[in-house]
Amino acid sequence: MTASLDLAQVSLGVELGPLHLEHPLMDASGTFDLLEYARRYEGDYFADFPYAAYVPKTVTADARTGNPGPRVTETPAGMINAIGLENPGVDAWIAALPAWAHLRQPVIVSVGGNEPGQYAAVVRAIEEYLAGAASGAAPAIEGYELNVSCPNVSGGLQIGADPAATAAVVGACRAETPRFLLAKLTPNVSDVTATARAAVDAGADGISLVNTFKAMVLDHDTLRPFLGNRTGGLCGPAIKPIALRMVAEVAQALPDVPLVGMGGIMSGLDALEFIACGATAVAVGAANFTGLEVPARIVAELRAELALRGLATPSAARGLALRG
């Protein structure tokens, strides 16, 4: 057993592809609204922003109103949601960028669509805006996360379940940007390494996994599907063991590809487990719904969990679960 370190001896910084992150934690797309948090914070939230990178809610080419309600409910050790990628569309999204242009951390834009051209149109619109934007008119958009795995819109999940369709989306977006490109994969496949490999071969710089598990909850009075969308995506602690297994599989199949691991991270120890399974960075999803102070708590816990084990950096823990 290695001796413990002092908290100050732990350096949390990681390199995710070309991105330097102050620590390995970011938010999972759609679970954390920067401006809503800033509005409720009594200090300067931009100065105290807890995540090392910000992944906004998925943006699509055209505005989407999302699914009918109910959209969310709690499940044993988790929750199910079917929001349906509600968003204002990329033009309105771009117009709102100046409101949070002073965010210091890198931004990874989550992009959605029904077919490759729609994904590429979002990336193209953002690249065109950034090319002409005055200094200070946009946050530091340093990458994209292609959401080919939303289970709650027609099209999204099917793309992510099919390696060729995934590759087509990645390829179309790769042609539009030199920036860091992540493909966010669905767990609703029999072999996640196949879609991961297809995404990387098509030009993805890294892989995010997992999105939510397609699932169903019934109304106990009517015995009909509870959600307005009938099915939804399951997340939270219930899915963590499956997510860990999938991250480990992709890390073993593609050892040189940067991974962002996620699925039910509620604590610093959960985050450390994903790193041990091969993730370079990790994303916090449903836990954001359980308290406004949660992101800062998980970062502090990760530091303590590393120190306790005598690990001076997240990199020292990376892949520990994969060794013979």
């Binding site: 759609g30 679970t31 709690e74 939270g236 954001n288 719904f289 308290g291 708590r297 502090a300």
Partner: protein
């Protein structure tokens, strides 16, 4: 305390939310429980119509429960809740001396400055925020009339938690107050012109009150309910249809203009 721990502590203090709020009083009315919690930071900022997210104590509960403010007295915040599922049943079993975490106050409030005559229309557990509103209106010298509707005898037990001078109650089974719905009470009321209507309850009731107010030429406000995950604007789980499109109950609401909701 290390720098990191201090940073985390400072960060934790910057939210308008309060940890470990002690339960100071509990009253039970059938399946309903009226709790009073010592929560000075929430009490200091609260306004009628706003809500708090409440952690359910114990393992096995992930999401916090949204509960509207039933009362605010000094540093105490009152909540009225109905035991429905496992989470609300646990909250209804809270005892004096136990603690829960609150986040809030959250959401929009009932505008009530300068209102001289108010009609409060509630249905079921939706009556809860109207007590706090009645307290504030009465203190400001407004004339307050309340009409509360309940489904049956069990649901009408909640009426015992309220202290409003002019309160009319209906029940659909005739067990408590007038037989019928709250609309039957409204039909029998003589409502002065300029009265502001405040409604909170099930969607069909909101729709009926909206139509009634339109016919009477009265303006007002409605507080809406929706299944919620975060309670803080992030998840878009609680959206409702309005004249301004889909809006979040937790963030743009829960209080909307009565004529803009699309129940």
């Amino acid at each position: 305390m290390s720098d990191t721990a201090r940073e985390e502590h400072v960060h934790g203090q910057q939210w308008a939310e309060t940890s470990h709020c002690r339960v100071a009083d509990v009253r039970h009315f059938g399946a309903f429980a009226a709790l009073e919690l010592v929560a000075p930071r929430v009490a200091a900022k609260a306004a009628p119509g706003q809500f708090v997210m409440v952690n359910v104590p114990g393992a096995g509960f992930l999401l916090r429960r949204p509960l509207s403010l039933f009362s605010v007295h000094g540093d105490r915040v009152g909540l009225l809740l109905e035991a429905r599922g496992a989470g609300s049943a646990r909250l209804a079993r809270l005892e004096v001396g136990e603690s829960v975490d609150l986040a809030g106050p959250l959401g929009s409030a009932f505008p009530h400055a300068g209102v001289t005559s108010a009609l409060l229309v509630g249905g079921g557990i939706g009556c809860a925020p109207l007590q706090y509103l009645a307290d504030e209106l009465t203190a400001a010298g407004s004339s307050v009339t309340a009409a509360f509707g309940f489904r049956d005898f069990r649901a009408a037990r909640a009426a015992g938690a309220f202290a409003i001078e002019r309160l009319w109650v209906s029940s659909e089974d005739g067990s408590t107050g007038r037989r019928g719905t709250v609309l039957d009470i409204l039909a029998a009321l003589d409502v002065p012109p300029g009265t502001v209507v405040y409604a909170c309850g099930p969607t069909p009731m909101i729709a009926a009150v909206q139509l009634w107010a339109l016919v009477q030429g009265l303006m007002g406000f409605a507080s809406l309910e929706a299944h919620m995950a975060c309670g803080s604007g992030s998840c878009h789980g609680c959206v409702v249809d309005t004249a301004r499109g889909k809006l979040r109950v937790c963030s743009e609401g829960p209080v909307f203009a009565l004529d803009e909701v699309r129940p």
